[in-house]
Amino acid sequence: MDLQTILILAQDGLTSGAIYVLIAVALILVFGITRVILIPHGEFVSFGALTLASLQVGVMPGTVWLLLILAGIASIMETVRLLSSGAGKELPGVLAVTLVPPLVIAALVKFCIPLHLPLGWQILLTMLIVTPLGPLVYRVAFRPLADATVLVLLIAAVAVHFVLVGLGLLFFGAEGVRTPPFSDVQLTFGTLNVSGQSLWVYAISFVFIALLAWFFSRTLYGKALRAVAFNRNGARLVGISPHLAGTFSFALAAAIGCLSGILIGPITTIYYDSGFLIGLKGFVGAIVGGMVSYPLAALGALMVGFLESYSSFWFSGYKDAIVFAVVIPILLWRSLSSVHYEEEE
C-alpha cells in the first residue's frame, strides 16, 4: 500500500468520521438529558437524505405526512392530558404550538415544490421538515415514559426505530437515492484529490460542533441543559423543565441527524433503512465516550471512520463486522479502566 492509498483512505475515513462525530454528539446529548438511548437516530439521517431527494424531483416528501400525523397524535395526547388534569385553559395555546408549525411547514413545502428552488433552499426546507419530527417523536413515544428505567426507554427506542424504518419504506419505497453534491469542485493537493463535498462535510461538521460547544458553555439555556443531564431532580428543583429540555434535545438530535443525512447523501446511496447502521456507527463512538464524554466520543467516532475506511480496503467484505466487533474490546477497556460502585435505578 503506497502513501497515496493511505491518504485517500484517510480522507474517506475523515469524511465519514466527521459525520459519525455529529451523530455521536447527538446521541450523548439525548442520553444525558432524557436517558433515552436513541436507536432511531439513524432514521433522521435517512429521512434527511430521502426528503431532500424527494424535493429534488419535485415530489411531496413522505416525511411531511409523518410530520402531520405525529402532530395530530401529539395534539390528541396533549388534549387528553390537559383535560384530565383540569388544565383545559392551556389547551388552545398548547394545540397552537403543536399543530400550527407542522401545518405551516406542510403548506410551505407544497408552495415551494413547483418552484424548483436551488439546492441551498431545498436543504433548508429539508431541515425544516425533519427537525420538528424529533420533538414530536419525543412527545408521542418518550415523554409519557419519562420516569421509566433506562431499560424500558431503550425498548421503546427500538420500537420507535421499527416504526420509523417501516414508515420510511412506506413513504419512500425501497429505492435508494443519491442527492446532488454541494459543489463539483475537485481540489488537488500534490497527488491527492479532495472533493468539494468532503470539504463541505469537514467545514459543516466543524462549524456545527463549534456552535454546540459555544451553546453549551456560553449560553444560559445551554448550561441549563447540562444541568439536566447532570442531575434531573436538581435541575427540576431550580425550575428547569426536564420535558422542555427533552424536547429541545430531540429537536437538536433530529436536526443533526438530518444534516448528517444531507451531508452523506452525495457520498453513498441512502435507502430507507441505511440510517440504522450509520447511526449505530455513531453509537460506537458514543460508547468510546462512555455515553458521557463528548471529546472521547468524537475521538471514537473518528476512529470508527478510519477503521471503516481502512478495513474496507484490506478486508472489504468484513468491514461492518469489524466496525461492530470493535465495540467488545472498547467495552473491555472501559470496564477495566473504571471502578464501579453503582446502583442501577
Binding site: 433506562v150 431503550l154 427500538v158 414508515l167 435505578e345
Partner: protein, 583 residues
C-alpha cells in the same frame, strides 16, 4: 384448581394442534422455538432487569455450529449440541464479564454490536456458505429413528419448551432465584446477604443464552438448512418484543408473547402488503406501535391481564422447625466491633474524620448525630458498601476494612436499609427467605431440577420462625409492597435475622415510623438484645434511642463529638449545642 385446569387445557391444545393441518404444525413449532428463547429473555429482562438483543445471534451460533460439524465433519448432532452449548456459554460469559460490571445499558449495546457483527460474518465467511447458507444438515436421530417428520419435531420442540418452563419456574423459586429476582432493586441488598450481584447477573445471562442455543440447535435440525437471515438483529429485537407484549414479569408471558407475535406477524405479512400495494415487512410498524402503547399503558403485558383473572397461587406448607446451622454467639461483653481512626474522604471533603468507637457483644449501641453528620457514611464503611480512605475496622479480632459486603456478611454482620429494600411483588416470607442465602448452599442445577426441596423447606421454616419472632406472622403471605412502612422495616429486620447474625446493623430503622410503631420497634430490639444479639443502630431520633440503647456515640461534621451512657449524653453540653444550636 383453575390454574391446574388451565394448564391441562393448554397441554391438550398443544397435543391436538398437529391433528389439524401441516400449517398449524409449522406455526406451532415456531411458537415453541421462540418460546424457548423468550423464556430466557423473561428471566433476563423481566426478572433480573437486564436485556439482550443478541438472543437470535446465540441461536445462530448453535445453528451454524451444528450445521458445520454435522455436514463438514460428519459429527453426530448430539455431540455438536455439546460443542454449541460450550461455545454459547463461553461467548455469554465473556460478554457478561466485560459489560455487566458497568451500567445496565452496556449489555444491550454490546449484544447489538456483536449480533450485527456475527450476522455479517455469517453472510461473508465462505466456509459458512455466505448468504446462501449451509444445506443438507444431518437429521436428528433418537433411538435409532430419524426425526424428519414435522409432527414428531413439533412434539420434540414442545417437550423441550415445557422442560425449559419447568426448570425456569423451579429456578425462580430457589435460593439463587430469589437473589436474582432481587437484582432489579440494585445489587447492594443481595450483596449484603452474601450473594455476588455480578455472579448472579452472569448466571442469568448465560442461562438465557443457553436456552437460545437450544432453540438454535433445534431450528437447524428442523429446517435441515441454515442461512444468516433468521439470526439477524431484527429477530433479536423481535424476541424482546415478544416478552414485552406477552408480559415480561411472568414465564407464561414468554409463551403468550411468542404466540401472539408469531401469529400476528403471519397475518400482517399476508394483509399489509396487499393493503399498501407494495411488498415489504410493514408489520414492524404495527409491532413498534404496539410496543410503545404497551410500555405506556400496560407494562405487565398480556399475561398481566390473564393473571388478574386467576386465583392466587396456593401457599406452600411450612414446617414447624428448621435445623439450619446456627452460629455460636460470642460471650456477652467480648469486644465485637472496633472502629479505629477511620476516615472517608471525597476529594477534599472529609465525610468521616478519624472516627473511633467500640461495640461489645450483647449491647445495643446508638450512633447518632444531626443530618449530614456522616452517620450513614460511617454505616456504609462498616458494612463494606463504601471503601474507606484510612483507618481500620475490626470485627472480633479480624480486620474487615477493605472487604466487600458479601465477605463481611459471611462473618456475621447483617444489615437493614435506610430506604427499605424489599421486593414489592414477593411475599414477606419470600423476602425474608433471602436472608438465609449464606446458610444454605444449593446451587442453580439442583434448583432447576428441583433437588433442593429439603433445603427449601428448611429455609421456609426458618423465615417463618423469624417472622414470628418479630411479630409479623399474620403478614407472612402478603406481598411486601402491600405492607405499611413500619411493617416493611420490621420485615427487613426479620430478613437480617434470617442470616443468623452476630451483629445487626440498623440504618435509621425509625425513620418515617409513627409513634406506636417506634415503640414496638424499640420493644423488639430490646427483646433481641435479651436473646444475646448485638445491635448497632444509626438514628437521628434521640427520643427513640434514649430508653433503648446501652451506649451512644454522637457524630457531628464527620467526627466523634461524644460517647457515653444515654443519660450522660442527654446532659452533654456539646451534644445539646449540636442538636439544639446552643442552650
Amino acid at each position: 384448581m383453575i390454574r391446574r385446569v388451565g394448564f391441562i387445557l393448554f397441554l391438550t391444545l398443544l397435543a391436538i394442534v398437529p391433528l389439524f393441518s401441516p400449517y398449524y404444525i409449522t406455526m406451532g413449532s415456531y411458537i415453541g422455538l421462540y418460546s424457548i428463547v423468550a423464556l430466557g429473555l423473561v428471566l433476563l429482562t423481566g426478572v433480573a432487569g437486564l436485556t439482550s438483543f443478541g438472543q437470535a445471534a446465540f441461536m445462530g451460533v448453535a445453528a451454524y455450529t451444528t450445521a458445520i460439524l454435522t455436514v463438514n465433519y460428519d459429527w453426530s448432532p448430539w455431540l455438536s449440541l455439546i460443542i454449541a452449548l460450550a461455545l454459547t456459554i463461553a461467548i455469554a460469559f465473556i460478554l457478561g464479564a466485560i459489560t455487566l460490571r458497568m451500567g445496565g445499558h452496556y449489555l444491550p449495546l454490546a449484544t447489538i454490536a456483536w449480533g450485527i457483527s456475527l450476522y455479517f460474518l455469517f453472510g461473508t465467511i465462505p466456509a459458512l456458505g455466505g448468504s446462501t447458507g449451509i444445506p443438507d444438515i444431518t437429521a436428528l436421530q433418537l433411538f435409532g429413528m430419524e426425526l424428519r417428520d414435522e409432527k414428531v419435531f413439533y412434539y420434540l420442540i414442545w417437550v423441550v419448551c415445557l422442560v425449559a418452563l419447568w426448570v425456569s419456574t423451579n429456578l425462580l423459586d430457589s435460593r439463587e432465584g430469589r437473589a436474582i429476582r432481587a437484582l432489579k432493586g440494585g445489587v447492594s441488598m443481595v450483596e449484603s446477604f452474601g450473594a455476588s450481584g455480578l455472579r448472579l447477573k452472569n448466571i442469568i445471562f448465560i442461562y438465557s443464552a443457553v436456552l437460545a442455543c437450544l432453540a438454535g440447535w433445534l431450528y437447524a435440525h428442523m429446517m435441515l438448512f441454515v442461512n444468516p437471515s433468521p439470526f439477524g438483529l431484527g429477530q433479536g429485537i423481535e424476541f424482546l418484543f415478544m416478552i414485552v407484549i406477552g408480559g415480561p414479569f411472568s414465564l407464561w408471558g414468554a409463551i403468550a408473547g411468542s404466540t401472539v407475535i408469531t401469529l400476528l406477524k403471519t397475518v400482517l405479512q399476508g394483509i399489509l402488503p396487499k393493503l399498501i400495494g407494495q411488498t415489504g415487512n410493514f408489520e414492524i410498524i404495527v409491532f413498534g406501535i404496539m410496543i410503545v402503547v404497551v410500555l405506556q399503558w400496560m407494562r405487565g403485558g398480556i399475561w398481566s391481564l390473564v393473571e388478574r383473572l386467576l386465583p392466587p397461587k396456593p401457599n406452600k406448607p411450612i414446617n414447624d422447625s428448621s435445623n439450619l446451622p446456627q452460629r455460636i454467639q460470642p460471650a456477652r461483653g467480648e469486644p465485637l466491633l472496633k472502629v479505629d481512626t477511620v476516615t472517608k474522604a471525597y476529594g477534599g471533603l472529609l465525610a468521616v474524620k478519624k472516627m473511633s468507637f467500640e461495640l461489645f457483644a450483647g449491647e445495643i449501641v446508638g450512633l447518632i448525630g444531626p443530618n449530614g453528620a456522616g452517620k450513614s457514611t460511617m454505616f456504609n464503611l462498616i458494612s463494606g458498601e463504601l471503601p474507606r480512605t484510612a483507618g481500620n475496622i475490626y470485627f472480633g479480632s479480624e480486620n474487615i476494612s477493605g472487604m466487600r459486603p458479601p465477605q463481611i456478611a459471611r462473618r456475621g454482620l447483617s444489615r437493614t436499609f435506610q430506604h427499605v429494600r424489599l421486593i414489592p411483588g414477593m411475599t414477606a416470607l419470600e423476602n425474608v427467605m433471602i436472608g438465609t442465602y449464606l446458610r444454605t448452599n444449593d446451587g442453580i442445577l439442583a434448583a432447576g431440577l428441583r433437588l433442593n426441596q429439603a433445603a427449601e423447606a428448611q429455609v421456609r421454616a426458618e423465615a417463618a420462625r423469624q417472622l414470628r419472632r418479630v411479630g409479623l406472622e399474620e403478614s407472612m403471605f402478603v406481598p411486601a409492597g402491600n405492607l405499611s412502612l413500619g411493617k416493611q422495616r420490621i420485615v427487613e429486620i426479620a430478613r437480617a435475622l434470617c442470616a443468623d447474625p452476630v451483629l445487626l446493623l440498623l440504618d435509621e430503622p425509625a425513620a418515617g415510623l409513627r409513634h406506636l410503631e417506634k415503640q414496638e420497634l424499640a420493644r423488639l430490639l430490646s427483646d433481641l438484645r435479651g436473646e444475646g444479639l448485638s445491635v448497632l443502630v444509626v438514628e437521628h431520633d434521640m427520643e427513640f434511642l434514649m430508653n433503648l440503647v446501652d451506649r451512644i456515640v454522637v457524630m457531628e461534621f464527620g467526627e466523634k463529638l461524644a460517647e457515653g451512657l444515654p443519660k450522660e449524653i442527654r446532659s452533654n453540653p456539646a451534644v445539646l449545642e449540636a442538636y439544639l444550636g446552643g442552650v
